[in-house]
């Protein structure tokens, strides 16, 4: 299936060699676009994105920002400020009313529905409530992600133990989710998101249900994953993790970006 989209992979591999800082001041003119695309590569780009729920209230208003390959970005703000909506716009669970969302060099709003599964194979998702399947073991939960995209058995048998070791769950392969602590469940969820080695990891309040110490462990794990070159966008309102990590912070207030700061804190 992946072989059916060589252009996608190609654009990524070529661009991945380039610098990993976001390019500010991008104007968007077509010829310039081509030039700049050679200089820097945006894993995710939002151009004047607005998303309405119902007809009145905008969940996101005129949001524009770029996320470079390998970046770690926090989306912060109170509940209902539009953090989750932004994440859902990035994997096309939602489509914006206005503006464009680019992922790995492609405008995902213009993508055919039939292409969306392949887009999502380049992204992992982690949630506050883990979204594990209760009737499957740890191993099966992670293997499931590979199974449903048609990966052969021997690949699954090889990759799942690897990723479980990475998240520190070796030896717990046969446990069921209800036999694990919250932190362990979140690790399974991260393993599932990462087992396919995605370009991007989208995390929605991954520490929201965890005590501070456990949350720190999860952040350390996400940091390790980020160091492998995976771009991470994480929505959170957990001051501690943001302040401890000192990464880029995009702050939202009622759907509007009010701050975009390198090495920021929560405030």
């Amino acid at each position: 299936m992946v072989t059916s989209m060589p252009s996608w992979k190609g654009s990524f591999v070529g661009a991945a060699l380039n610098r990993s800082r976001p390019c500010k001041g991008f104007t968007g003119a077509h010829h310039e676009h081509l030039v700049i695309a050679k200089l820097c590569f945006f894993m995710i780009r939002l151009e004047n994105v607005s998303k309405m729920y119902g007809s009145e209230i905008p969940a996101v208003r005129d949001a524009s920002f770029d996320v470079a390959k390998g970046e770690f970005v926090f989306l912060v703000g109170p509940s209902g400020s539009g953090k989750s909506t932004l994440l859902r716009l990035m994997n096309r669970q939602e489509r914006p009313e206005r503006g464009n969302v680019w992922v790995a060099g492609r405008n995902i709003n213009e993508m055919a529905n039939s292409q969306i599964p392949y887009l999502r194979r380049t992204m992992g998702n982690v949630f506050q409530d883990y979204k594990l399947l209760p009737n499957k073991t740890v191993f099966e939960n992670v293997a499931f992600a590979l199974e449903v995209i048609g990966k052969p058995k021997h690949i699954i048998a090889q990759q799942v133990p690897q990723v479980l070791e990475l998240v520190g769950l070796s030896g717990k392969e046969d446990r069921f989710p209800h036999q694990l602590s919250g932190g362990e469940q979140q690790r399974v969820s991260i393993a599932r998101a990462f087992v396919n080695r995605p370009l991007i990891l989208l995390a929605d309040e991954p520490t929201g249900n965890l005590d501070p110490a456990t949350g720190e462990g999860i952040m350390a794990l996400l940091d390790a994953i980020n160091r492998t070159g995976t771009t991470i966008v994480m929505a959170t309102h957990d001051h501690r993790v943001v302040n401890a990590m000192r990464r880029r912070v995009i702050q939202l207030d009622r759907g509007v970006i009010v701050r975009d700061q390198e090495r920021g804190v929560y405030e």
Binding site: R120, K131, L133
Partner: protein, 301 residues
């Protein structure tokens, strides 16, 4: 590929187990409705056998003795054609012995004894007459004119033979078609509902599948397969029922006295197998379509 197929079947069977009650209900309903559909076909065919010689508004049949001379035959023909006021001459049909024998095979389908006594040489040929009038007394007096002509073996009138049967046939057809249509829709709705329940039961799984990039068809196929199998199993059950029903009917008819006409209500087994194949197809299509529509409607997570 093999892995995907085995995945689809595993999921289908697991889902079938999870929704046992609903699945069984869907299977039973489709079985009953398809049995009715099948029975409609058979009843229709049985009545058709009975009525085949009267097809096309034929009101009167003049049977000509197999040993009648050519002159006698042409005299009868001329006589029939000379009455354009009472007889629709354009629709006048003559069945020679071979054609009459072919027809007899259907009329006496359930009466092999009588059929074995007939042969192409001993069977009467026949004129099928479409009268222009519906007045029974006129038709009757017309019949009387021909009974006495040389070479005529006998004259049959439609109203004597099949008025009741014809009315009955129409009534039974309407009722059974109506009922089987209603039941078939119920079966489709039940299958649809089973699939909806199955999708609901697995909504978390489906959500995860979508997020990790499973294609829509990958998610959909097990559900479609489930509906298709429900329809198909229902059809299989109905085929068994139809077979048993036809067998009981055939042996029951054999008990009637020969020559009462009831014997032609027997349906040849070749036709029954044809109906069974049709039922299997209808069942599979109804199940597949019901679940296909349900899965595309409810899978938009």
């Amino acid at each position: 590929m093999i892995q995907r197929i085995s995945y689809a079947f595993r999921e289908t069977i697991a889902s079938f187990r999870r929704n046992m009650t609903l699945s069984v209900a869907a299977v039973i309903t489709s079985a009953v409705s398809l049995l009715l559909v099948g029975a409609t076909f058979l009843i229709q065919r049985a009545f058709d056998n009975l009525l085949v010689q009267w097809r096309g508004d034929v009101g009167m049949i003049v049977f000509v003795r197999p040993d009648a001379s050519t002159e006698a035959l042409s005299y009868i023909k001329q006589n029939l054609e000379s009455q354009p006021n009472v007889i629709d001459v354009k629709k006048l049909v003559y069945l020679d012995k071979t054609q009459s024998f072919e027809e007899a095979k259907r009329v006496f389908a359930g009466d092999p004894t009588t059929l074995s006594l007939l042969s192409v040489d001993t069977i009467p040929s026949q004129f099928k007459v479409v009268p222009k009038t519906t007045d029974p007394t006129l038709v009757r007096s017309l019949a009387d004119q021909y009974r006495t002509l040389p070479g005529v073996a006998g004259v049959s009138l439609a109203e004597d033979e099949f008025d009741v049967i014809s009315t009955l046939s129409t009534f039974v057809r309407t009722v059974t078609i109506g009922m089987s249509l209603v039941l078939l829709s119920v079966a489709v709705i039940l299958i649809w509902n089973t699939i909806r329940t199955a999708i609901f039961a697995r909504r978390r799984e489906i959500e995860v599948m979508k997020l990790v990039g499973a294609t829509d068809w990958f998610i959909r196929v097990p559900f479609i397969l489930e509906g298709l199998i429900q329809g198909l199993v229902g059809a299989l059950v109905s085929c068994g029922g139809l077979w048993a029903l036809n067998r009981a009917w055939t042996s029951g008819v054999a008990g009637f006295k020969a020559g009462t006409g009831v014997s032609s209500l027997v349906v040849p087994s070749g036709y029954v197998s044809g109906v069974m194949v049709a039922l299997l197809i209808i069942g599979a299509v109804a199940g597949g379509v019901g679940s296909g529509v349900a899965s595309s409607k409810f899978l938009d997570v």
